[in-house]
Subunit: 432 residues, 2 copies
């Protein structure tokens, strides 16, 4: 049977992994694709850089047009990353009739509508299993295997970098800065870690999952999010004392009033599966009305886990399965009615962990409790340790009962004005 010709755009870490699988595991892949899969082009602007995988001579080029002109190439894999030039490249590839495989969640979260419209217009498909949770087959699971269900909720650890940093802090007692430096040394965090540690990367992935699982149209920028850079070694201690682990949790949950979405460092009870997710792993807990609770755990990023997902998408596209999936799932489309609207973040209820740095003098606790009470936020438990070091300020930790995010923000604003409360108040969610 005639080989299927594939082009790879972007020879970075993931690209090298995909090239390695396509070249070194030819037999395995041909068996599953029903024909040989030929890596015909690898396009990268930098054709000279040393990589950890050496391509056969003649494969690497900086000429995207060679791919665009080759009518035999039916699948193009975008692994450039980021928004531009990735977006323009994908548009050009679609214009020239290539089906797309990508692992670029930022691109989908930002330009999904435009790209999917273009693919539909051209009768092509876009596959993106590698864009969320790397090696965990979560896109196919939601989009194909759980379709009999109304998904009720998703609770997920979607950013391996943040989870690595939090695990370092928890296991070694290090502070955030030291754990981040460690993550950067190990290659788990980039020089500029903003997208990862701010919760933005997790919010983009959550927006994609919410789109699939709830048929919701979600703008990732409108998802309420808090980063892990607020978490201190002291918070880790308090969490342990209270029986929790701190995880950057991405949550989407159906409520009668709408879809509740947030990304936040969250206290997760020790001994539960999400609390046991360590290092660079990801995990996703889904509740469906028929299937009940399903839990997935695996490497959420990294070269080979993501390459594994990308190659399965390539094979799905070659087999024609992806064309069917893409057509019926009708993602990011005007034609696809939004079945639920995101709820106003201010109205989303939750339990909260609050840590204040307060003056160690009488009346402070009464002031704070008074303001919380005025905003109808009720205190579930409280920790203030003896001030053994006789320092001027001491940490005061409050766990609240369920309260709306908006009321919590207003209360914290009022508390922040108190002269006895120092800057650096920390607020995290608590998983019920």
């Amino acid at each position: 049977m005639k080989p299927a010709r594939v082009a790879l755009i972007g020879m970075g870490t993931i690209g090298s992994g995909v090239a390695r699988l396509l070249l070194e595991q030819k037999d395995r892949i041909a068996r599953h694709a029903g024909r040989p899969v030929e890596l015909a082009y690898v396009v990268d602007t930098d054709t000279r850089r040393k990589r950890n995988f050496t391509l056969p001579a003649g494969l690497l080029t900086d000429d995207l047009h060679a791919v665009l002109r080759d009518a035999e190439v039916s699948v193009a894999v975008e692994l450039v990353g980021g928004l531009e030039p990735a977006r323009s490249i994908v548009i050009q590839l679609l214009e020239s009739g290539k089906n797309i495989v990508t692992a670029n969640k930022a691109l989908l979260a930002e330009h999904g509508r435009e790209l999917f419209d273009k693919a539909r217009e051209k009768g092509l498909s876009i596959a993106f299993e590698g864009a969320v949770a790397g090696g965990i087959p979560i896109i196919a699971s939601i989009n194909e295997c759980l379709i009999a269900n109304q998904v009720e909720s998703i609770h997920a650890i979607l950013n391996g970098t943040s989870n690595f940093i939090l695990t370092q802090m928890e296991e070694n007692g290090t502070d955030y800065a030291a754990a981040l430096a460690e993550a950067q040394q190990c290659g788990y965090a980039e020089a500029n870690p903003f997208m990862d540690v701010s919760g933005s990367d997790a919010a983009q992935k959550l927006a994609i999952l919410a789109h699939l699982a709830f048929s919701a149209h979600v703008n990732w920028r409108e998802i309420s999010r808090t980063g892990i850079d607020i978490v201190t070694a002291g918070d880790m201690q308090f969490a342990k004392e209270l029986g929790y682990s701190i995880k950057l949790l991405a949550v989407a949950e159906r409520a009668p009033e709408g879809l509740e979405l947030h990304v936040s460092p969250t206290m997760v009870r020790l001994g539960t599966p999400l609390a046991d997710v360590r290092g660079a792993y990801n995990a996703i807990r889904i509740i469906g009305d028929a299937v009940g609770r399903v839990f997935f755990h695996g490497l959420g990023a990294g070269q080979m886990p993501t390459a594994s997902a990308v190659v399965s998408d390539i094979v799905d596209t070659i087999l024609g399965r992806m064309a069917i999936t893409f057509k019926t799932s009708d993602l990011w489309s005007d034609g696809r009615e939004a079945l639920i609207q995101p709820r106003n973040p201010a109205d989303v209820q939750g339990r909260f962990y609050l840590r204040f740095n307060v003056d160690d003098r009488p009346g402070v606790m009464a002031d704070i409790a008074g303001i919380l009470g005025k905003h109808h936020i009720s205190i579930a438990s409280l920790i203030q340790h003896e001030n053994e070091e006789e320092s001027r300020s001491v940490p005061l930790v409050i766990m609240t009962h369920s309260a709306p995010e908006g009321a919590m923000q207003n209360a914290l604003q009022a508390i922040g004005v108190l002269s006895s409360v120092h800057p650096g108040t920390v607020r995290m969610r608590v998983r019920n």
Copy 2:
């Protein structure tokens, strides 16, 4: 668009769940199938029994021929269970041009070859996501999402009944008989629990997974298996003392000498994900050479989780995705070369937990240790508590280092002959 007509054969527990989803969630299912899905027939020999779901009048019939004659029915769902008449029914349905969806692992493990050959001959497909691990999308994951990988190992809890019983024993300190009775009362175990508690059900499912993941031809009867009925309350205590939980583990692992397969109550270290699987849940841990470790956890049986899997198969079949998957995966076929042979069970190495009931007198320990040594089995640790009750026999627990199953069997046979060793020796595997 013209509705897709579906027939359901077998209106038991799972059948009722599938009927409920197809009838009550019409919109949801039509959205995913790209057209309405019409439940056209429900066939059951017993049309009078009260069920927990009432069908619209006229749908239930005991006439299979009505389905066979109706050329508009493209998908038939076999939920009769067992071998016969399920096998004959599926053959007839294939002969009359129906694609099959089934959740019948016994049927596939026993007659997979015949049924798949027939389906191929007729250009039809057989889908079976519900046959293994209920609501966990493990078939699609292995068969579609992880195809870029050489699967290295599968460690799985595949029988919810056994796991429920073991969890009861562990949490309540009850013995096997009481926990089994509890499982029967709760509807988790059948009146005749043999297939579940003997490890046979898990072996059938493991054979199916091994077929998919390793391209191995496995006869489930040749898988070495031990049931959970050997486990006593005392073993549960010893396991806890040693830092383990006891799980009925189904294992398939690649070794240079072949595929190692076994089902056995197994000591799994506390705090690991498999040890945390409780009640009627199932879990599967897969290691792939690209993806690393992936872990799935969910309800492995029960009406709605299994119905969820069956309905996703129905939709996959209607969409035409299943026809592609079925064709390329070429399961249970002569044309599909076995990539690895099952290894002789006697040669499969492993660590073992041994519990003897021995006379409380000098020399016994030396006799047992001597025989183990003669068979080159080395002792890793040992527990013998003081005989506080001054009973004639006391339990002696030995944890071994890695040894071949065959050597272990020979040693136990020799030890069984000792007059100081009473009947009722227990042997379990220990997960490394």
